[in-house]
């Protein structure tokens, strides 16, 4: 499905991403993890042809991404630049529907599972710029998912969402995968969600893929060790809230 060969990206002479080879097979759910500035978003932006690699080749479905065939079956949401903020949530989803050639009836049906995830009725008519970050993000993620893409690319989808919405999103991703077998590439800082959802983890550090392996029972611990997460050993009196404050 995705083929990356000898790709490098440099900014001001500094290499920010260097991927000798990376593949994604049809139907895989891949978690992309790494510290801030590791190169995850650059990786996704390269895949979506939003930035140009300095060297190398990227193909989706056997075709170079400089063509636009892959866009017909790819849903994506990276950040607020994927939202048109002077439209309401409903207007934005209606616009996305036309891009992917869905009729109103088809779109209505496709949106049904997302109704419990989307902002409530009161917010549906507000312009996206007037919504909270989390609610606007829900609209953006829904826009990427409801068109039943064969390839789904999401950057930090769980960040800024409240806990129930995170769980709901996880379920929606699972349902989408079960229904369509879509290939998913999801970057996240939330190691629990990623290991829970993805069947493969790609760890990026300083612009290089350092680990790329199937998710197993030990993956979460390995990732925690990599990120230097220490067990909670703080003394009780230090951890307790200050009741006199």
């Amino acid at each position: 499905m995705i083929y990356i060969e000898q790709v490098t990206k440099r900014y001001d002479g500094k290499t920010v991403l260097e991927v000798p080879q990376w593949r994604a097979s049809e139907g895989e759910i891949i978690g992309l993890v790494g510290s801030n500035g590791a190169g995850k978003t650059t990786f996704l932006r390269l895949l979506l042809d939003l930035i140009e690699p300095d060297t190398g080749e990227i193909q989706i479905d056997g075709k170079a991404i400089s063509g636009s065939d892959w866009k017909q079956f790819t849903g994506s949401y990276l950040d607020q630049r994927f939202l048109i903020d002077y439209l309401s949530g409903d207007e934005f989803l209606d616009f996305i529907r036309t891009i992917y050639g869905l009729s109103r009836a088809e779109a209505e049906q496709a949106l049904t599972p997302y109704r419990t995830f989307l902002p409530t009725n009161g917010d549906a008519n507000k312009y996206l710029r007037d919504l909270s970050t989390g609610n606007a993000k829900k609209v953006g993620i829904t826009a990427a998912m409801f068109v039943s893409p064969r390839l789904l690319i999401l950057d930090e989808p769980f960040a800024n969402l409240d806990p129930p919405s995170q769980l709901r999103l996880k379920q929606l991703l699972r349902d989408l995968h079960a229904a369509t077998g879509a290939t998913m590439l999801i970057s996240s800082h939330d190691l629990v969600h990623v290991t829970d959802l993805c069947d493969r983890i790609t760890l990026i550090d300083h612009g290089k893929v350092v680990t790329d392996a199937a998710t197993s029972d030990e993956t979460l611990e390995e990732l925690r060790t990599f990120f230097g997460e220490v067990p909670d050993t703080a003394a009780p009196d230090e951890a307790a809230p200050d009741s006199t404050a």
């Binding site: 930035i51 891009i99 200050d242």
Partner: protein
């Protein structure tokens, strides 16, 4: 649980408030850095050279006019006293400069807002940025005329003190105009219609008085500035108090506007019907519908729309109704270009930049550049037709003999101007943040290149009109013919623009990302 003394010593103690005396130098240093760095960040040598030369040319012209005004007055109005002429036209000049300022000068609100989250007192921020706004080109350029005029002409007649007092009065008037602009624009946020109506009425009255010879402004000007060169402590104190009053009024209005939120956008009338129409046009229709909502729901593009409509109606009436004003052949080209192509010329130059906030989202999805470019071409060509229809009654009433010119320029603007403007738009890498544009007539996203690009649009028809000045109907036919050819080859141009967008999209997106 009781806390030990070491625990309580770790608690953060509230810090003492930093006084304005310490914060003010901090603000000044930050502003100096901001000015220097934003000048360096422009990084466009060609544009900087052009703008510097343009500024130097204007400064030189103003200086020459001020230093040698009696010579010019003798040439134009022989026998008239120079200072009487100046005193008579000072107020109308200041009113004209105020409108120019209103259209071009940015409000300090955006600068103030970027500091609101820091522990600066609001009054200090507002006062500081209002005071900093006086170092604007709108206040400095007029003095390049006024100072040499006072030194060379007023000082020998009224003495150094009289000349100084007159310059002080001009400085005071400019400062009042500066503060009044801040006041008016602060009111725009919540009283847009009232403010625009008020200013439109004032402009109409001023132009009527000036062109139809009412003489009210002239008499007012003589009453105010006629005695300004006679030294008087009372007059000096009056000037000072008016300036301080205007400064307080502006600061108060700016402070008040910070407490208010922007009003919700106005829904587009007939939305349902237009939406249904867009549905029939598939993606191109939806992109046009999106562009219309962009124009209507965001203040800056909406102002372009309103101003274009005003030019094609109110301002056009003054141009066509004033006897003698329309004698120049070059002015015919300007009227023709702007009457139907004003919106395309202004809005069109930023055609892709308007969408810089979400261009990534469009290009990552199944929106092909050809459909995107086609929708933009239709919007610009449609705007030419709309403005043509709106301005046609003005031509019919005041200059029916110029209707063929208007028709010729409709074809030229729709067929040629829109394509030239789109060509420029595809080269643009400067983003426009719709959410932060705020001020009226903010020129964010424009560079010297945009102003220079006006030349290939305006020069050919001007030259044509000049060359065929004795047979204007031939010139109009050629213009219409070229425009028709442009219209017939629209699809070819669209493909060319689309290819350019595809080729340059990474450069465009990286430029837009700096803004967003």
């Amino acid at each position: 649980m009781p806390h030990s003394s070491s625990d309580s010593s770790r608690r953060i103690r509230p810090r003492s408030r930093v006084g304005a005396r310490k914060l003010l130098p901090l603000l000044i240093r930050q502003q100096v850095k901001f000015r220097i760095r934003s000048f360096k960040a422009q990084g466009k040598l060609g544009s900087s050279i052009v703008m510097t030369l343009f500024g130097a040319y204007i400064a030189f012209t103003l200086f020459t006019l001020g230093a040698f005004l009696p010579v010019f007055v003798e040439e134009i109005r022989a026998g008239m006293t120079t200072h009487a002429l100046v005193d008579r036209h000072t107020v109308s000049t200041l009113v004209g400069l105020f409108f120019l300022r209103f259209l071009l000068q940015k409000t300090p609100k955006v600068q103030v807002e970027s500091f609101l989250h820091l522990p600066f007192p609001r009054w200090l921020l507002v006062g500081f940025f209002c005071a900093a706004s006086v170092f604007s080109a709108h206040n400095i350029f007029p003095l390049i005329f006024a100072v040499p005029y006072a030194v060379r002409h007023l000082a020998p007649i009224y003495g150094a003190l009289g000349a100084v007092q007159w310059v002080a009065a001009i400085v005071g008037a400019l400062l009042v105009s500066n503060f009044l602009n801040i006041y008016v624009r602060s009111q725009l946020t919540n009283h847009e219609r009232k403010v625009l109506l008020g200013l439109g009425t004032l402009l109409a009255l001023t132009l009527t008085d000036e062109y139809l010879g009412g003489g009210v402004l002239g008499s007012l000007s003589l009453a105010i500035f006629g005695d300004m060169h006679r030294p008087s402590w009372m007059l000096a104190a009056s000037i000072l108090s008016v300036v301080v009053g205007a400064g307080l009024l502006a600061s108060g209005a700016l402070l008040d506007s910070l407490r208010r939120e922007d009003p919700p956008a106005v829904p587009l009338a007939e939305a349902g019907r237009l939406h249904e129409l867009a549905e029939r046009w598939d993606l191109a229709g939806h992109l046009i519908w999106l562009e219309l909502r962009l124009m209507w729901r965001n203040r800056r593009p909406r102002h372009y729309l309103v101003v274009s409509l005003m030019f094609s109606t109110v301002y056009l009436i003054f141009l066509l109704a004033s006897p003698g004003v329309f004698d120049g052949v070059a002015l015919g080209a300007v009227i023709g270009l702007f009457a139907s192509g004003g919106f395309a010329l202004n809005y069109g130059q930023l055609m892709f930049s308007w969408e810089s906030n979400y261009m990534e989202g469009l290009l990552a999805r199944a929106v092909d550049t050809r459909t995107l470019t086609r929708s933009k071409t239709i919007v610009l060509q449609g705007s030419c037709l709309v403005l043509f229809v709106v301005s046609l009654p003005v031509f019919m009433v005041f200059r029916p003999d110029l209707i063929p010119l208007h028709v010729a320029f409709l074809f030229y603007n729709a067929g040629v101007t829109t394509q030239v403007i789109l060509e420029l738009a595809t080269r643009n890498r400067d983003g426009v943040d719709l959410g932060k544009s705020g001020g009226f007539f903010n020129y964010e996203g424009f560079s010297a290149r945009h102003w220079l690009w006006f030349l290939p649009t305006a020069v050919p028809p001007t030259i044509l009109l000049i060359v065929f000045r004795d047979t204007p109907s031939l010139a109009w036919s050629i213009l219409a013919g070229v425009g028709l050819l442009g219209l017939l080859t629209t699809e070819l141009w669209t493909r060319r623009h689309a290819r350019r967008v595809s080729r340059r999209k990474h450069a465009m997106l990286s430029g837009f990302a700096i803004r967003t």
